[in-house]
C-alpha cells in the first residue's frame, strides 16, 4: 500500500511524504479538463515540492502535437488557470523537462505500444521505476476502450511490485445498467483497488472538514441524530447556465451531473457513523452503509419525493439570459432537467424520520454549495410572551463553495429590559482563519492517487448504490414529457420543488 518515498529523514515534522517515482499519463491531454485543472494541479504540486523528482508526465490525445508544442500549450494553460498565476520560468523549465506527448487515436493499439515504449524509456532515463498512473480525462465512451488497450500491452499489470492505477473522471455511467456495464469492462483489466473514481467534491476542504468537524469535536456528534436534527438540506446552486457544455449536459441533466454523484457523496459523509480510523476502507464502509440505508425511489413515488425543472429566459445579476432550450448545442425541445430536488430517507437507527433534502440546479440567483443541518426547536421556552414557534431553531451551515466555511445560528437576548430573542450567527471562514490558501480539489486528489490513498475517491459499491437509489427517477422522467421550462433563470426553481417541501411543512433555505 505504501508507495510513498521510503525516507530515512524525519517525515511528519514539517516534511511531507512525497509520492514514489512514477509516470502520470493523461488521456485527453488536449481537452478542457487537462488545461483548466490537471496540468495546473500538477504544476502547483511541483511548486510545493510534492512531486517526486523522478517523474514523467505524458499527455495522450488525438491532436498531432510534438513534445514542445504540448509544453507550450500547457505552459499557457497553467499561466491562465493556476491559482498561483503566471508560471515561474525556472520552475517551469524543470517541470517541462518531464513533459512528453504521444498522439494517436484511443482505439488504435499502436498508440499503446508507443506509449509503453516511451514509459520504459522514462524508467531508464528518468528513474520512474515502472509505476504508472493513468488519468482518463476523456469522453466517457473511451473509458473502456482505453482500459482494454492498456491491458493488452501489459500496462495494467502490477506483478513486479510496481503500481498501475486508473483514475476515472465522471460521469461513471448514465444509469444503473450502464454504470454496471462500465464497471464490468474496467474490472476485466483493473482490480477495484487500482481504480480511483474522481469526485472532485471530496477534494474540497470543507467536505474533508466535515469529518473533522463531526469527529474531531465533542459538541456536535451527540446532537447529530434524529432526536435533535429536524432535517438536512444539501444544495448545489449555480448561477451559470450550461456555458458551452450543452452537448454533454443535454444528455445528462442535473440529476446525473450533480445529484447522483456529488450530493450523494456529501450526504453519506454527513450521515455516516464515525469510522474507527480515517483510512480508506473504514470510511468507504461507513459511507456505503448510509447509501444502503436509503430505499431506492419507486416509480410511483417519484412525483411525491422528486421535483424537476428547466429554466426559461430570465435575469442573472440584472443581465437578461436565454432559456435552456435556447442555449447552444441544446435540443430546442429538450426534456432535460436543469433543476432537481429529491427527498431522501435514511432508514437507520440514527436518522429514521429525519429527511434529507437535496437539490442541484443551474441558473439560480447565486452560486452556493452548502450543507445545512436544521436542528429542532427547543421543546419549551420559559420566557413569557415568546412562543416557541417564533424562535428560529439552530442551524449549522457548512459552505463548500464559493467561500468555504461554517456558521452556526443561535438565539440570543436583545439587550434591554424585556426578554426579546434574536437569532445571531457564529461564523468561521477558512480564508480568514488560516494563512494557507486552500489547495484546489484536484491537487489534493492527484496527490492522494499518487500515494495510493483512495479515501477521497468513490468506491464502486458507493457508485452503484447511488445509481440504484435514483434509477427509477430517471426511468419515470425519461418516460414522461415535462412541462418545461417551468422556472425563470434567476429564480429559486419550480413551484413543484417548493411544494415538495411544503408537503412536509418545511421550506428551502434562501441562500
Amino acid at each position: 500500500m505504501t508507495t510513498a518515498s521510503d525516507s530515512p529523514f524525519d517525515l511528519g515534522w514539517r516534511l511531507n511524504r512525497t509520492p514514489a517515482p512514477t509516470a502520470v499519463v493523461v488521456f485527453g491531454a488536449s481537452g478542457d479538463l487537462s488545461h483548466r485543472k490537471l496540468m495546473p494541479a500538477l504544476y502547483n504540486l511541483a511548486l510545493q515540492q510534492l512531486l517526486p523528482p523522478e517523474m514523467v508526465i505524458v499527455g495522450v490525445a488525438l491532436t498531432p502535437w510534438s513534445d514542445d508544442e504540448f509544453r507550450t500549450e500547457m505552459k499557457a494553460a497553467i499561466s491562465e488557470h493556476s491559482r498561483n498565476g503566471e508560471v515561474d520560468d525556472e520552475v517551469w523549465h524543470g517541470f517541462a523537462q518531464r513533459l512528453r506527448y504521444v498522439s494517436g487515436s484511443f482505439d488504435d493499439l499502436d498508440l499503446y505500444q508507443r506509449l509503453d515504449a516511451l514509459l520504459k524509456e522514462a524508467d531508464a532515463d528518468l528513474g520512474t521505476r515502472g509505476n504508472r498512473l493513468f488519468y482518463l480525462a476523456t469522453a466517457p465512451t473511451f473509458f473502456p476502450v482505453i482500459a482494454m488497450n492498456l491491458g493488452k500491452v501489459g500496462l495494467a499489470d502490477e506483478s513486479d511490485g510496481v503500481y498501475r492505477r486508473l483514475v476515472v473522471e465522471k460521469p461513471f455511467g448514465e444509469d444503473l445498467a450502464t454504470a454496471q456495464a462500465l464497471n464490468q469492462e474496467l474490472s476485466q483489466v483493473f482490480a477495484e483497488a487500482q481504480v480511483y473514481r474522481i469526485d472532485h467534491y471530496l477534494g474540497k476542504e470543507t467536505v474533508q472538514n466535515l469529518m473533522v468537524l463531526r469527529f474531531g469535536n465533542l459538541i456536535f456528534e451527540p446532537l447529530w441524530n434524529r432526536r435533535y436534527v429536524d432535517h438536512v438540506q444539501i444544495t448545489a446552486a449555480e448561477d451559470l447556465g450550461v456555458e458551452g457544455r450543452g452537448g454533454y449536459y443535454d444528455g445528462a441533466g442535473a440529476l446525473r451531473d450533480i445529484l447522483q454523484n456529488h450530493l450523494f457523496q456529501v450526504l453519506s459523509l454527513v450521515a455516516m457513523e464515525p469510522p474507527a480510523r480515517f483510512d480508506s476502507r473504514d470510511v468507504h464502509d461507513e459511507k456505503v452503509k448510509v447509501l444502503r440505508a436509503i430505499p431506492p425511489v419507486r416509480v410511483e413515488e417519484v412525483a411525491e419525493v422528486a421535483a424537476r425543472g428547466q429554466y426559461g429566459p430570465g435575469y442573472i445579476a440584472g443581465v437578461p439570459v436565454p432559456g435552456y432550450r435556447e442555449e447552444e448545442k441544446v435540443d430546442p425541445n429538450s426534456n432535460t432537467e436543469t433543476f432537481v430536488a429529491l427527498k431522501v430517507r435514511v432508514e437507520n437507527w440514527r436518522w429514521a424520520g429525519t429527511p434529507f433534502y437535496l437539490r442541484a440546479a443551474k441558473r439560480l440567483p447565486k452560486r452556493a454549495t452548502e450543507i445545512a443541518v436544521q436542528f429542532r426547536s427547543p421543546p419549551h421556552l420559559p420566557f413569557l410572551e415568546t412562543p416557541v414557534e417564533t424562535v428560529t431553531p439552530n442551524l449549522l451551515t457548512l459552505r463548500i463553495q464559493p467561500d468555504e466555511g461554517a456558521s452556526l445560528k443561535f438565539v440570543a437576548k436583545v439587550p434591554g429590559p424585556s426578554v426579546d430573542l434574536r437569532t445571531v450567527s457564529m461564523d468561521f471562514s477558512y480564508g480568514s482563519s488560516f494563512l494557507k490558501g486552500s489547495p484546489e480539489a484536484y491537487e489534493r486528489l492527484l496527490l492522494d492517487a499518487l500515494v495510493g490513498d483512495s479515501t477521497l475517491f468513490a468506491r464502486w459499491d458507493e457508485v452503484e448504490t447511488a445509481w440504484e437509489i435514483v434509477d427509477q427517477v430517471l426511468t419515470a422522467w425519461a418516460g414522461s414529457a415535462a412541462d418545461f421550462p417551468n422556472y425563470d433563470a434567476g429564480s429559486w426553481g419550480p413551484e413543484s420543488s417548493d411544494d415538495l417541501m411544503a408537503r412536509d411543512g418545511r421550506r428551502w433555505r434562501r441562500l
Binding site: D6, R14, L47, D239, A317, K366, D427, S429, S432
Partner: protein, 446 residues
C-alpha cells in the same frame, strides 16, 4: 468562530467605540479614535450576490471613542488612511460619515476590505488599557464587532526592530486573525504609552474578522514586571506565541518573565552577530525545556530538507552511514545558522561517520545556505545548488554506470513574514530541531 449578525451590511459597518469608559480617567490619559473605512474592494465570485446587496454600501454614522483630557499628541500611524471627520465643532462628538465600501464593484482580488479603528494614549494601568481596547470592539448599538481569533502573538522588540516587527505583523494580519502585542521597555517609573488598533476585515465580501494590534511602551526599570502587563491583555484560551527577533540570553530577565506565559517561542538566530554564539545560547534555552522553541533559520531550511528527503532514500542513507562526506557552501564569511543547522540535522540522521565540511561562498548575492554536495562513499554523488533569485535549485545526481541526471527542482524561498506565519501554525515541540541543534554546535566547533 465569530459572533456576528448575519447580514453583510452590519458586518461591514465601521464603528468606533461607543462604550468608552464611563468616566474619563483623572487626567493622565489622552485618547483619540480614528476610524478608517477601507476602500479596497472585497473579492467575490458571485455577481448575483453583489447585485443583490446594494444596501451594504449604506454609510453608517458613528461616534468617535473617548472623551478624555489631552495630555499628549496622538501618534499618527501609517496604517490610518482615512481623513478625520471634519464637520462638527465638538472634537469629541464628531460624527464620521463612513465611506461606502464599494461592494458592487468587487473585484477578484482576495485582499480584504474592511474597517479600522485606532487609539493612542498614555495610561497608568493595564485595566484602563483593556477598557480602551474593549471600546474599540463594540458596535454603536452595543453589539461586539465580529472577531475570529486563533492565537496571541507577543513580540519583544527593541527600537531598531520595532518598526519591522510591526510591519511584518501587519502583513500577516489579513489572514491570521490574532491579537498581536508588541512590547518595548524604556526606563522610567511607571506608565504605559500605548497604541491600539483593531481592524475588521471583510473577507470575500462575507466573513468578517478582527485583528488587534497592541503596541506597548512600558516605562519601567524592572523587566521582571513586564509579564504582568502582558497577561491581562492576552485573549483567553488561545495559544500564546512569543516572537523574539534574535536569541535571548538564557538569563535574560525579560525573557524569563515572559517565557512562563507563552506556549511557543520563535527566535531568529540569523539576527545575532555570531551564529555559533547564537546557537549555543539557543541550545541553552531549548535544553532548559520550559517551553517549545523554534528558530526562523530552521524554518527556512524546510524546503531544503524536503528536497533531501526526496533525493535520498533509505538504501542511499544506509550506504552513507558507512562513511560519507557532506559539503556545504554558505554565503558570507562565517557559517550561517541555517547552514549549521542543516549540517546538524544531516549528521543526526546519518550518524558520526558523516564528515561535514563547511565552505564560504563569496560570489553569491544571497544569504544563508547556497549549495550542498553529498558524497555517498561510493560511486554516487548528489549536488544541489540554489539558483539565485529563483524559486528553484539545480540538482545533479551522478551514479556510476548510469547517465548523469540534471534537473531543476523547486526550492521555494520564504520571506521572514511567511516563515513566521508558518511557525504560528505549529504548537508541538519540534523534535528534529531540538536534536539538530546540539549536532550543529558539534559540527560548527569541529
Amino acid at each position: 468562530m465569530t459572533a456576528a449578525g448575519d447580514t453583510p451590511a452590519r458586518r461591514t459597518r465601521a464603528s468606533a467605540a461607543k462604550k468608552a469608559p464611563a468616566k474619563p480617567s483623572a487626567s493622565k490619559s489622552k485618547a483619540e479614535a480614528k476610524t478608517t473605512a477601507a476602500a479596497k474592494p472585497a473579492a467575490s465570485t458571485s455577481k448575483s450576490e453583489a447585485a443583490k446587496k446594494p444596501t451594504a454600501t449604506k454609510p453608517a454614522a458613528r461616534k468617535p471613542a473617548t472623551k478624555t483630557t489631552a495630555t499628549k499628541k496622538p501618534t499618527p500611524t501609517k496604517a490610518a488612511t482615512a481623513k478625520k471627520p471634519t464637520a462638527t465643532k465638538s472634537a469629541a462628538k464628531k460624527p464620521a460619515a463612513r465611506k461606502p465600501a464599494p461592494r458592487k464593484a468587487r473585484a477578484t482580488s482576495t485582499r480584504p476590505a474592511g474597517t479600522q479603528h485606532e487609539w493612542d494614549g498614555t495610561v497608568t494601568s493595564v485595566t484602563e488599557l483593556a477598557r480602551h481596547l474593549h471600546a474599540l470592539r463594540v458596535e454603536p448599538d452595543g453589539r461586539p464587532v465580529p472577531s475570529a481569533s486563533v492565537l496571541n502573538l507577543v513580540a519583544v522588540a527593541d527600537d531598531e526592530s520595532a518598526h519591522e516587527v510591526e510591519s511584518i505583523i501587519e502583513s500577516m494580519s489579513d489572514h491570521q486573525p490574532s491579537r498581536a502585542l508588541i512590547v518595548k521597555t524604556v526606563g522610567g517609573k511607571g506608565g504605559i504609552d500605548a497604541h491600539l488598533e483593531t481592524r475588521a476585515t471583510v473577507f470575500r465580501g462575507r466573513a468578517s474578522v478582527q485583528v488587534e494590534l497592541i503596541r506597548l511602551m512600558l516605562h519601567t526599570d524592572q523587566p521582571e514586571g513586564v509579564a504582568s502587563a502582558i497577561i491581562p491583555l492576552l485573549r483567553s484560551d488561545l495559544p500564546v506565541y512569543l516572537w523574539w527577533p534574535g536569541v535571548p540570553m538564557p538569563d535574560d530577565l525579560l525573557y524569563r518573565e515572559i517565557e512562563d506565559t507563552v506556549d511557543r517561542v520563535v527566535t531568529e538566530a540569523e539576527r545575532e552577530p555570531d551564529a555559533m554564539v547564537a546557537l549555543a545560547q539557543l541550545a541553552e534555552v531549548v535544553s532548559a525545556g520550559r517551553v517549545s522553541v523554534t528558530d526562523l533559520a530552521w524554518a527556512r531550511l524546510t524546503t531544503w530538507r524536503q528536497l533531501i528527503t526526496q533525493l535520498i532514500d533509505r538504501h542511499h542513507a544506509d550506504r552513507m552511514r558507512r562513511g560519507s562526506v557532506l559539503q556545504i557552501w554558505y554565503a558570507g564569511a562565517q557559517p550561517t545558522p541555517d547552514a549549521l543547522l542543516f549540517a546538524g540535522w544531516f549528521r543526526e540522521a546519518i550518524g558520526d561517520k558523516l564528515m561535514v565540511e563547511l565552505h564560504p561562498r563569496a560570489d553569491v548575492d544571497i544569504t544563508g545556505l547556497v549549495e550542498v554536495h553529498v558524497d555517498a562513499g561510493g560511486p554516487q554523488h548528489l549536488s544541489i545548488e540554489r539558483i539565485p533569485e529563483r524559486e528553484s535549485a539545480a540538482v545533479v545526481v551522478y551514479t556510476a554506470g548510469r547517465p548523469t541526471r540534471r534537473r531543476v527542482l523547486p526550492l521555494p524561498s520564504r520571506s521572514r513574514s511567511e516563515l513566521l506565519a508558518g511557525e504560528l501554525e505549529m504548537l508541538r515541540p519540534d523534535v528534529p530541531f531540538e536534536r539538530a541543534l546540539p549536532r550543529a554546535l558539534e559540527v560548527g566547533a569541529a
